[in-house]
């Protein structure tokens, strides 16, 4: 139980570090002087000390929505697969619920974008609605396929099952599912081929546009939510698609897990450096690829495993 609580707290604490690490890696690769990997914490503390400016045009939604964006993600943190063998984990929540909770967070984020009556907020919400509508089917199909291989739909139980017995005979479907899930990781977190988190140019932005009117503590909450979302997806990827290293003693297992998260972050950074942002109307092609891989994964599972 203690390991469980500690690992959740550590994951929350590490989340800004991961995003700053991606940024720093990208800057190194582009021959720039990198930012400190602790920049995320600095931004957070700076924002926490600022006063909150609320737009006059907004309503009660802006007052409550930032908390409602963060709360489901924090709840999801409690349902992640265990990082260490024998650690407590919540076995009564399945992958659908996690998808649903992430959608709940996005739902309030989109309302927040529409509430400030600025054209940018509406644009961001509209684009986010478009992207997340296409993410949903790929997500559900990938979950379905992974749950078949892991023998359980509950993510906690699935993580444990995969770590204990890896289904080598289903390697092909496993790989397809992994590709599909990685595309989803990029799309849901607004990384480069889908959205550029670093610019405020109107043409490129999705996530940033929705929160253009937020400042101070509210902005800090939303930024935390974004980084926690990345950690959720990265650790789901790490537990479900790289299920090894759980059997070591707690500190080592934990370090291995962190290393896996950094590995994923590095891959994301490399991808961001090497690709350009897609046009909005090309994004369905990428997500369609993800859907196709999810279908392929299921079909290979059924055909080979029947």
């Amino acid at each position: 139980m203690i390991i469980y609580i500690v690992s959740i707290i550590l994951l929350v604490l590490i989340s800004p570090l991961l995003l700053s690490y991606i940024k720093a890696t990208k800057m190194v690769l582009l021959f720039k002087r990198p930012i400190s990997i602790f920049q995320g914490y600095r931004n957070f503390s700076k924002l926490m000390h600022k006063e909150t400016i609320i737009s006059e045009e907004t309503s009660a939604i802006t007052k409550y929505a930032p908390f409602l964006v963060l709360a489901p993600l924090i709840v999801v943190m409690f349902f992640l697969p265990p990082l260490v063998h024998g650690s407590y984990y919540v076995s009564f929540v399945d992958a659908f619920t996690i998808t649903g909770l992430i959608s709940l967070s996005t739902f309030f984020l989109m309302l927040l974008g529409l509430d400030s009556a600025s054209a940018f907020g509406g644009m961001g919400s509209s684009r986010e609605a478009f992207i997340s509508a296409l993410v949903e089917p790929a997500m559900v199909l990938t979950i379905f396929s992974v749950s078949l291989m892991a023998g359980n739909l509950g993510v906690g139980q699935a993580g444990v099952n995969l770590a204990e017995h890896f289904p080598k005979e289903h390697m092909a479907s496993f790989l397809f599912a992994a590709i599909s899930f990685f595309i989803l990781l990029i799309a849901e977190n607004g990384r480069i081929p889908v959205d550029n988190p670093e610019t405020h140019l109107e043409l490129t932005m999705v996530h940033e546009a929705m929160i253009l009117d937020l400042t101070g503590v509210y902005l800090a909450i939303i930024e935390t939510a974004a980084s926690i979302k990345f950690v959720i997806f990265a650790s789901l990827f790490a537990s479900l698609f790289m299920p090894f290293g759980l059997e070591f003693a707690a500190p080592i297992a934990f370090l291995i897990f962190i290393a896996k998260l950094f590995l994923i972050a590095t891959v994301v950074a490399l991808l961001e450096v090497n690709t350009a942002k897609l046009r909005l109307f090309k994004i369905p092609n990428l997500l369609g690829l993800s859907i196709v891989f999810a279908f392929l994964s299921l079909i290979t599972f059924y055909v080979l495993g029947a």
């Binding site: 400016i53 619920t97 529409l114 644009m123 509508a133």
Partner: protein
């Protein structure tokens, strides 16, 4: 004459849950209706007729109440006949509902052998001896699903529901469609029981198509009530997906899974009743205050109509299937039953079901987009018109109707296990084993799937943890005493006004563009240029309308074909008399030729030869020269 088994009683409960808050709302709405007596009479007759349908025990009573339900709802659409569109919609509804009635009548005439007072149990005997059971099944599908609004018989919904007064739309969409679902349950179980596999697949396909088509057309809609009507098509589709999975599992002998899927469908029926009624009431309040159904004219209503906005938000979260709402729970159950398709041995069926999963998941994603649009454009931002500016909260009775309905929505979420117990009893009554203990093996906190590697969900724990975390953060925010300041929206330094906000059309823009092949939008774009400069303009106007594809294919084209044929029949009946002799000659020729083809031998050469002989004689003798 009447039957009160668990299935009937559960549907009586559904109708009462839908109707009682509606009566409050309706009495608050009454002062704005001109023909009060007409409205009241048909309103209560409508509710009673729905109750009559679900408790009737023989075909005669059933058909009587069914027809009464259709006629009263038709009259209710006609309450306010000032607009031409209302009369048109009512006529369309009248035709569609009697189209369905015709097939129900045919069904009953066959299965009762003409004795309409026969009980449902004895109909089963006759139906089992009937040579073409699939014909009976299609009669049922056409009869009930045209009322429920499944693709491709859904076309009347987006016309009829917006034109009715709002309490009636809430009743029609929330409750009346469910009466059709009752009919499916009752007659498929009681009369046509052992189903072939194909029937389940037909229902599943109709469901998957309806859900996608409904949500896609809902997204492109600016009329708030038409949007909600399209969402009814979607939700009926979701119910039918559950229903179809239940039928498929049943024919494959997976009885526990089958009951689970049927319970999911029944639960979604209840959920849809609750949130759709609430949404229609909310839309009705907004409409009542702003006097327009066009969403582009709303905006910022949350500030002046907080109760409506809050109840609408709860219903929107629920219909978007976001946890921990009741909508999520039923959709979760339907997903679980579809994921249990890995138990199926038939490999092609196994590979086909993921496509239905895909349709349902896509529907979920699009529904979220649609309700962000509906809620965001209606209630958030700045007022988009003067009407919206002068809107204020509705009267007490209407508010209490909405609040009561919110309690129904919340009760379905909080007391899921208790509802589930009754749903389970329905299927015990229909001759299934009880699976309540399989869904809730460890008490009421965790809901289990009955599939092999199925999931678990704990709605209450989720709800409490979400509320707890949010409350904790808000408490911390209060305790730290963060300074807040009010200022205008930044919007990159430009001034925000009602015209710079995103519109409903703009919000659905990306999705509309992605699905252009389906929507085939009709765009109007006008720009007044200044002195011929393309880049300078002082006024511009952009409008886009989406023409429903199914309506075009199945209705308008059929109407065109009938017109065309009737033109030729008209021509024929105005020939001079000599040509009638020629027609008789030609008909005899056809009969003789076809007799030879069918009863003797068939060869392509003679067939082609005879065809040309026919054509030439028709051309010369009947049609003659063109004038």
């Amino acid at each position: 004459m009447f039957v009160f088994d668990t299935l009937s009683l559960v549907f009586v409960a559904l109708i009462l849950l839908g109707a009682v808050p509606n009566i409050f709302y309706s009495s608050g709405y009454l002062p704005h209706i001109e023909r009060k007596a007409h409205y009241q009479l048909h309103y209560f007759a409508f509710i009673i007729s729905m109750l009559g349908v679900v408790v009737s025990a023989n075909a005669l009573v059933f058909l009587f109440f069914w027809e009464l339900m259709s006629l009263t709802s038709w009259q209710l659409i006609l309450t306010e006949t000032k607009e031409k569109a209302t009369i048109k919609a009512a006529r369309f509804y009248f035709i569609m509902t009697h189209f369905g009635f015709l097939f129900l009548l045919l069904f009953f005439l066959i299965v009762t052998d003409g004795d309409l007072e026969m009980s449902f149990a004895s109909m089963k005997l006759i139906a089992s001896h009937f040579a073409y059971p699939t014909l009976l099944f299609f009669f049922l599908v056409l009869g009930f699903l045209s009322k429920a609004g499944a693709v491709p018989l859904h076309v009347w919904l987006p016309y009829a529901h917006p034109q009715a007064p709002s309490p009636v739309s809430a009743l029609m969409s929330g409750v009346m469609l469910k009466v059709a679902i009752y009919g499916m349950f009752r007659f498929l179980f009681d009369v046509l029981y052992p189903w072939p596999l194909e029937w389940g697949i037909v229902i599943l396909t109709i469901g998957a198509l309806s859900s996608l088509v409904g949500v896609l057309y809902a997204l492109s809609e600016h009329d708030i009530k038409a949007l909600l009507a399209n969402h009814s098509i979607e939700n009926i589709g979701i119910i039918l997906i559950g229903f179809g999975m239940g039928m498929i599992f049943d024919t494959l002998g997976l009885h526990t899974l089958s009951t689970f899927a049927f319970i999911a469908a029944l639960f979604h029926t209840f959920n849809h009743m609750s949130f759709k009624s609430l949404l229609f009431m909310g839309a009705g309040s907004v409409l009542h205050q702003t006097h327009t159904k066009n969403m582009e004219k709303y905006g910022g209503l949350i500030k002046t109509m907080p109760i409506t906005a809050l109840t609408f938000l709860i219903a929107a979260v629920s219909i978007s299937a976001l946890p921990p709402s009741n909508g999520f729970l039923s959709e979760w159950m339907i997903f679980q039953s579809m994921l249990s398709s890995s138990h199926i041995d038939n490999i092609s069926l196994k590979l086909a079901i993921p496509f239905a999963i895909f349709a349902l998941a896509m529907t979920g994603g699009l529904a979220i987009a649609c309700f962000v649009k509906a809620y965001g454009i209606t209630f958030l931002g700045l007022h988009r018109s003067t009407n919206a500016k002068h809107a204020h909260e509705v009267n007490f009775l209407m508010k209490s109707g909405m609040i009561l309905m919110t309690f129904v929505v919340l009760s379905l979420m909080l007391f899921t296990p208790y509802y589930m117990e009754y749903f389970d009893k329905v299927f015990v009554g229909l001759g299934r084993a009880s699976i309540y203990a399989d869904i809730f093996p460890e008490g009421i906190w965790h809901m289990h799937s009955v599939g092999m590697n199925g999931g678990i969900v704990s709605p209450l724990i989720l709800l409490f943890s979400l509320v707890g975390v949010t409350a904790f953060m808000m408490f911390a925010y209060k305790v730290f005493g963060v300074k807040t300041r009010l200022h205008n929206s930044w919007a990159c330094g430009y001034k925000t006004s009602q015209k710079t906000q995103y519109s409903a059309t703009g919000f659905a823009g990306p999705i509309r563009r992605f699905f252009t092949w389906l929507y085939k939008p009709d765009e109007h774009f006008e720009k007044q240029t200044i002195a011929g400069h393309e880049t300078k303009f002082d006024a511009s106007h952009y409008e886009v309308h989406v023409k429903p594809l199914f309506e075009k294919i199945f209705y308008i084209n059929v109407a065109k074909a009938v017109n065309y044929i009737s033109y030729w029949v008209y021509r024929l009946s105005h020939f001079e008399q000599t040509r009638y002799a020629a027609m008789i000659f030609n008909i005899m020729l056809v009969v003789l030729f076809s007799y030879r083809i069918f009863s003797h031998e068939f060869s392509w050469a003679t067939f082609v030869l005879e065809f040309f002989v026919m054509m030439i004689s028709v051309k010369i003798l009947i049609i003659g020269d063109k004038k």
